[in-house]
Symmetry: D3
Subunit: 166 residues, 6 copies
């Protein structure tokens, strides 16, 4: 229950420089992102760190650091459970996982900071800006126009940070 | 404000028997579903009916029929706006659209009948049963375990209706 | 804190037969329902019972009875606070109050039993069936199509119970 | 799919200077706002622009402009669908429509920017400040005190911008 | 990824007969339930099974069994993460944990089946029926009367199953 | 309908200096907070003011003052209903009441200002910082990680204002 160490967090960005993790996604717009490699021989922590790094890089690290002092255990759970147990599962490609998360957070309308992290994450695993907008437009049908508009405003912020245009 | 005619609704299932629409999806698990064909020359109504039929077949028809007497205009909007304007857009493959909708409805937890329609819809456009379960499992992280469990129970019902096992 | 007595509840329907309370609303579709009469000389309980009876009649009574055994105090609060303090306030006509409540419960999507009570209540104070449907159709824009459709299905049930057609 | 042109947006405020649109609402507190004039001969776009302008004036324009670059199509849908198809429908007066929207957005608690637009809109079609507060007070009963209080704080901001007191 | 075995599930109820686990809670109404015993030497699975059994007994088992066929991994997560990592933590007594869960599920209004499980769970760890009703009454203030009333109806059902009166 | 007077509000902080109200809570971590003293001879207003002061001190006063101008009646209801009728009830200790409120507001994710008030309130009636964090960590299971993380960030802010560390 000591939480993730600062060294562990630093390790996240160090890993971010590793060839496998940092290679830019090469999917075309419609191509599915590769599923995470087989994880049978790795621990939950290893799988979780690899997945977190693959998805969020520095953004995820910042969230974990802000939790470090007050509730370090949730940092552990994010790595071990959310990324190691859930996100790293085979059976669904990473792009589809991110479309699902972006859709849910947009529809819920209560998680703008996390939506921002996951729009970055989607772009990191090969989702195209316009595809992310498409997911949000679709939320107008299922969760109403305000949810869609507020989600689009978060996407706009992320795209501007990355000098992207949809 | 006359809403969709019963003849129009009958047309949905008639179209449902057309070769193009009823041919089983041939995507592999990771292959992206084809995007809707270019729609430039068709009307909103034509695009909407084609998309609704492609996705939901008889299930969607039943929903529209139940709305026919009391609020026919929402049936028009579902076809023209939700399917003709939104769902039929190019820019995102149909499988990804369904993962997004299934994720959102599972996370919201207030739309079990619509979730059921869209799980059927996902299966109709090539989402695999296990992929749909993966989306729901992921919702445990973002919307909590009760939302994920309740979504899985709806999926279970759909899979049983179709004699599928994830 | 003894809760409302059964005699008090019986009194609700007795009051329901009183001329003032049971006279059918005479507003035209666009006419605003009269605001509750000045309440200055009455107690919260008197105002609440009058308002509850004016709005819900037997439907409200059934809800209160089902709460009587397990949590009688919430029955008191519904009469004294929800109806006596809030609903009976001057400053907004009863029709507008019901449109507001019907809109909110439809958008929230978590309160079907209460939505049913308040659709009955809206009809009791002069909201027309088609107006109630209009409110729900409008919710498709703000809370999404599933919320609107599920609300319309509740309205359909109420209209059928009262042999109404929108 | 080119979205609304900037000229179209400029047109909104130009229309805002037209006599019919800019004449201040003359309803008394309890009088119902006039329903939109018969729309049979106008297009969805014309009806939508007229309704948007009638309701929001410059506020709505700002929202559309902020969406223009990143997701222009949702601007089209807001005009054509949300205002042209839904809001411009006869069958419910504009004041009641705004009470419904204000109630829903207050209860949902996830749409402060849109709530602000629609409080302005309500004032533009004849809702009185105190009536808007009444709707929000009523939400304390149906969605809890935090939802009501947060809604009132948004109203306070709008009233201050317009130098109004409830 | 083989999920929990049926033998493991059977083990839950077997453990339910063990003296330590099945001894009735002895707290007075205001006394805090004991915190879970130190867990340092046990595995996540052991801690989770002990906590699940302590809280839910047969009710929890039924939920896990219904998930077994379609999504066995979520059963693992419920035991290892939800109960082993979270619920079994020292730092907050079990009664307070249940009041928190009951409050949240009542306020959310989207998780009736889980609310039922956790009302049973609260009673199993020493929450008194009237205390559970108090938590729900309090939700009228924070999430509105419909949420409180719907929660009370679930509690009523549980109390009747156990022949309890609040 | 004159709302609470400023004198009444001043009275709140004056009472805050009274020995009984301001004495620091002496519970140990696991000890239950005392239930409010018998209220039979006091009025709703007296009970409400005492409870509000016991819980929130200056924080609650600030909220009431901000509502004073625009909607004074909701200030009355907060004192008389939320605190006088509900919170001041015997039958559940104050610590448990605060855990319940903190859990619900964290799970709902739409009430950050009120969550802040009630974290202060929890600390004022003897909840320990780490216990409040435990409640929020538990919400990761029931309402998802974003809800838990956003709640923890509000707690962090409160703890920093009070120079506390969990």
């Amino acid at each position: 229950m000591t939480g993730i160490s600062m060294a562990g967090l630093a390790g996240l960005s160090a890993r971010g420089d590793a060839p496998g993790a940092s290679s830019p996604p090469t999917q075309t717009t419609q191509g599915a992102a590769p599923i995470m490699p087989p994880a049978s021989s790795s621990t939950r922590r290893e799988r979780g760190l690899a997945a977190l790094n693959r998805l969020t890089g520095a953004t995820g690290e910042a969230v974990l650091e802000s939790l470090q002092e007050i509730a370090p255990d949730i940092g552990d759970w994010i790595i071990d459970f959310a990324y190691g147990d859930v996100f790293a599962r085979p059976g669904l490609d990473l792009r589809s996982r991110q479309f699902a998360t972006i859709a849910a957070l947009t529809a819920m309308g209560t998680a703008a900071p996390q939506l921002k992290v996951h729009i970055h994450g989607g772009l990191n695993v090969g989702c195209q800006p316009q595809e992310i907008i498409e997911v949000m437009l679709q939320m107008a049908v299922y969760a109403g126009f305000p949810a869609a508009i507020n989600g689009i405003m978060v996407a706009k912020e992320v795209f501007e940070e990355r000098d992207l245009t949809p």
